[in-house]
Structure formats: C-alpha cells, structure tokens
C-alpha cells in the first residue's frame, strides 16, 4: 500500500475528516455529563451539630453519605460509594469500620483503606457549619488518595 496524496484525495479526505469531527463533536455534546437535578443548590442540611456524638458514624442514605464525627469533634462527610467499583458500603458497628459487600474492601472512620482491593480512600463531601447546622455539599464529591487532617471540618 503506497501512500499517495494529490489535490483530489487531499480535499476528499479533509472533507471526510471534518464531517467525522463534526459528528463526534455533536455526539459527545449530546452524551456529556448532565447536571444532576438535586435538592436546593446541593447543600444538604444534616441537622444540629450538637446532636452528633463524638466517635460515632451517622448514615444519611438518601443523600449518599455517612457523617463521621471524629473523637476530637471534627466532621467528615464520607461518600457511600466504594472506590473500587462503586458498590454501596455499609458501616459495621461491631468492627467499627465501613465494609463493601461486593469485594470485601474495608475502610476506617476516616475513610482510609483497611483492606484491598480498593486502593483509594473514600470520597468526601465539603462541609460548612452555619448557625450550628451541619451543611453538606452533596453535589461536589472530592476525590482523595489518602486521609489528611485538612479534610476535617471543625466548629
């Protein structure tokens, strides 16, 4: 197969290429991530801060996160989606850890990996505290590789 490019083939190929690009552009535009329609601008009201005891984990199933109140009073809103393949993790009270039912990955109260196959710590959601109310931004999960102190929100 010899590569020959004269004026005609060049124009022909250029037209084909442009048309293909056009179709790809339109198609990806159609398939692009849609803005999820969620509760009021994404800030979820989890309730009064004093309600949450230190060292305990509270499920917010409908909003897809667990609120973890750490021993020092800090707050973490941890996503329920396992970082391995996206199954819904559950908090095991007896073992004091999150466990994924699909492939047995487990995570501690900070979302750190305790056992594989997951490699990444659980995603977290940003938290702000307004008038003692814990507000969680459920529309913007933050990816992280490991737990850092800066991720915790304090009163």
């Amino acid at each position: 197969m010899k590569f020959k490019l004269n004026r005609r083939t060049f124009i022909k190929r250029a037209v084909y290429a442009l048309l293909s690009l056009e179709i790809i552009y339109v198609f990806t535009g159609l398939l692009r991530k849609k803005k999820a329609k969620k509760v009021s601008d994404g800030w979820f009201d989890a309730g009064n801060i004093n309600f949450f005891e230190k060292g305990k984990v509270y499920p917010f199933g409908a909003a897809h996160f667990y609120l973890s109140r750490l021993e020092d009073g800090g707050l973490l809103a941890i996503s329920i989606h396992c970082t391995h393949l996206g199954c819904a993790i559950q908090f095991n009270q007896n073992k004091d850890r999150f466990v994924c039912p699909c492939h047995a990955s487990s995570f501690n109260k900070y979302g750190e990996v305790l056992s594989p196959p997951a490699t990444r710590a659980l995603d977290i959601y940003p938290i702000t505290i307004q008038d003692d109310k814990v507000m969680v931004d459920v529309n913007s999960p933050l990816r992280r590789n490991k737990y850092e102190n800066s991720q915790v929100t304090y009163v």
């Binding site: 391995h84 393949l85 996206g86 199954c87 994924c100 492939h103």
Partner: protein, 424 residues
C-alpha cells in the same frame, strides 16, 4: 420456482444470500456447525421478540421494573416472550464466541478473508455491547449493580477513564439518564449498526466463495436448493424448539427493584464479563482494564496479517501436529491459569511484600510477568521440542488467551460467593 418474479420476491431475495450451487464439502454440518447461521437466526429472533417487548416496556426509573412485573403477570405469554428474548440473547453471545473459535481454528481468516475477520470481531463486540445494554433495562438489583460495577471498571482506563465512564452513564452514578441511554443503544443504534455490519459480513463470505473447505481440489458442486436450504431449515427449527422449551422451563432472572443504597453480596458483572472481574481481583486495574485488553485486541487484529509459510486454509488446527499442540496448549493454559489464580488468592501478597514499589509495578507488571514468563517458556518449548511453525505458535497463543479467559469466567461466576471469596 419459475413463476412470475413478483410473487416470489422475498423467497428469491433470501435464496440469493446463497449461490446457486455450493461445494458438497462446505455444507457438511461439522464443517461449520452452522454457527454463523444460528447467530443470524438468533439475531432475527431477538429482533422480533425485542420489537414486541418494546410495546410493554417503560424506560424510566419509576416505570421500568413495574412494567416488567406487569408483563410477566398480566400479559398473555408475556413471561414466555421475555424468557425467549433473554435466552436468545445469552445464546447469541455463546454462539458468536464459538463461531469466532471455529473460523480461527479452521484457518478461515487469512488472505481474502482477513477483512471479514475484522468485521467479525466488530460484530462480536456489538453483540456483547448489546447484551450488556439490555442487561440494565429490567432495573432490578442484579442489573443495577452489575452495570454499576462494569461502568466503574471503565474508569480505571488511564487519563480518559473517568470521562468515558461518565459519558456512558451520563453522570457519576447509574441513573435514569443511564437507563434511557442504554435503552436507546439497545433498541435503536446497536441493532441498526449490526444489520449493516452483518450485511457486509455476509457479502464478504460470498465474495470469498463461501465457507472454507478441507480439500479445495476435490470440488463437487451440488444445487443449494434443496441440499443446503433443507439443512438450514432443520437446524433453525431445532434451535427455535430448544429455545422455546428452555423459555418454558427456566424464567429469566428478576430480583427486587434496584436500590442504589444497598449492594447485594456478592455483586457480580454479567457472566461474560466475569473473566474481567476475576482478573481485576488479582491484578492492578490499569493492567486488568486497559493494558491486557489492549494487547489482546491488537493481537487478535494482527493474526491474519502475519506472513505464514505453511498455511492450510480450511483445515482444522492447520494439521495433525497443530491439533496435538493445541490440545497440549489447552491443558497447559488450564493448569497455569488455575495455579496463578490460587497462588494470587492464598499466597501472593505483592502489595505488602514490597510496599516501597508503586502498585502499578508490584500488583500489575510483576503479576502479568508471573503469567507471561511461563507462557513464553511454553511457546519456546513447543518450538524446540515439536519444531512448531509460526501458525502453530499463533494458535498456541490464541488458545492460551481463550482458555485463560474461560477459566477466569468459570472461577468468577461459579466458585466465588459472599464477599467474592473463593469457595465461600
């Protein structure tokens, strides 16, 4: 057959898929096992049953599951219709796979058939993709979590993985957008593409003068009608009867309505993807999802473009030696794959043995080498001991890949229970 043309237009069109006369060897059942034809028949059955199912199905999160329940309980023969579609779909994946094996092992993918091998691989991909998109539609726990797992596998492709996964799902979770998207792919775009590619596929078979035969010198031509046509009708009837009986006995699975908050334990991908899921349990996702599939695809496409010196087109396993070597390869790959799975499950702990090495190297490259080095040694052994030719080695490599995938599929779907533990 010689009445006025207009009254027989459809019959004649169908007969024109075949030439007037065919080689007597080519219509022996054991030449092709009718696999390509059966696949085409299954496609037609899926098309018809799918069209009917569309009248009952509601593609929305609220309506999908209930519409299936209503179909099964209220509609006359609704359950049978759904079962028929389900079993035809499963059969199509299996039959297409066997068809790929048949054309490969009878050396029917070389010379003028090269292009058709590529089209065939494309159609095989579309078959799997169609089945997978249909898997989500019942919107039960089984389908929801299988699709969640599969689309999350995509996100392990380096750099573009997340974008692709988000594009497939239309968001970062499986939602109604995903359902609508899959519904459209499953009932619109994919069947259309497949009809087009199948037409090209058939035409290229005709252009290469039909299916390959063992001895192209002993050519005896017989009329297609009735010799071939009657056989085809017989096979078609048997396939249809078997599918109906199967559909009457075994119902298509339907679990509880999809609940995005509770994953069933264990959550598994559809059975034809279990090989991937099994692979992912052992090896770094960068390798399991991207590098290995890429290498395998490149290898499959590349096979017919190598220059071979002693190719016997149409001969099963190329020669008796090839047959023997293929059998040895099957046994070797079987043992090797099982050994690697077991040692990786119970013994190897590369992550903790070398914590300072990046995971991509320790649980990725090293594990791959653990499989590739014995496989390469085996190929060298075939070459030195049996004086294997290039085509023999190609067949051995293909065999190892296929056996490895089949073993992983079986281990993953049958021997893994709760928490995906082996023998749980």
């Amino acid at each position: 057959m010689n009445t006025a043309g207009h009254s027989k237009a459809i019959t004649k069109l169908l007969l024109h898929l075949h030439p007037n006369k065919v080689d007597a060897q080519s219509i022996k059942f054991t030449r092709t096992f009718g696999l390509g034809g059966i696949a085409a028949l299954l496609f037609v059955m899926l098309f018809i049953s799918g069209m009917l199912l569309r009248f009952a199905y509601v593609p929305s999160v609220k309506g999908a599951y209930d519409s299936i329940i209503e179909l099964e309980n209220q509609v006359l023969f609704g359950q049978l219709l759904r079962n028929l579609h389900y079993w035809s779909g499963m059969a199509l994946v299996l039959v297409s796979f066997l068809h790929v094996l048949r054309v490969f092992y009878t050396q029917s993918i070389y010379h003028e058939r090269r292009k058709n091998w590529i089209y065939g691989l494309l159609i095989m991909f579309l078959v799997v993709f169609s089945n997978f998109t249909g898997y989500l539609l019942p919107w039960d726990q089984l389908s929801f979590w299988a699709v969640t797992i599969m689309t999350n596998m995509l996100s392990y492709i380096p750099f573009v993985g997340d974008a692709i996964a988000d594009m497939v799902r239309g968001g970062d979770e499986v939602t109604e957008i995903t359902l609508l998207r899959f519904y459209h792919f499953h009932t619109g775009l994919l069947p259309l593409l497949m009809v087009f590619l199948m037409s090209v596929h058939f035409w290229l078979v005709r252009k290469s003068k039909g299916v390959t035969v063992q001895n192209s010198d002993e050519k005896v031509l017989v009329p297609t009608y009735p010799n071939l046509v009657f056989k085809e009708i017989l096979v078609a009837l048997i396939v249809i009867i078997v599918l109906f009986i199967l559909s009457m006995i075994i119902n298509a699975p339907l679990q509880g309505k999809a609940d995005p908050l509770i994953s069933p334990n264990p959550s598994k991908a559809p059975w034809y993807f279990m090989g991937f899921q099994e692979l992912l349990l052992h090896i770094h996702p960068g390798f399991g999802i991207f590098i290995i599939p890429l290498l395998v695809t490149v290898f499959l496409v590349y096979i017919p473009f190598v220059k071979y010196t002693d190719l016997n087109v149409g001969v099963w396993f190329n020669s008796n030696k090839g047959k023997k070597l293929t059998i040895i390869s099957v046994v070797y790959a079987l043992v090797l794959t099982l050994l690697v799975i077991l040692s990786s499950e119970f013994f190897l702990d590369l992550r903790n043995w070398m914590p300072q090495v990046p995971l991509l190297i320790s649980t990725g490259l090293l594990l791959l080498l653990l499989y590739l080095v014995p496989a390469a040694a085996f190929l060298y052994f075939l070459k030195s001991k049996y004086n294997a030719s290039k085509i023999d080695l190609m067949m051995a490599m293909f065999t190892i890949i296929i056996v490895a995938y089949v073993v992983m599929t079986i281990v993953g779907s049958l021997f893994r229970g709760e928490g995906m533990h082996l023998f749980a």
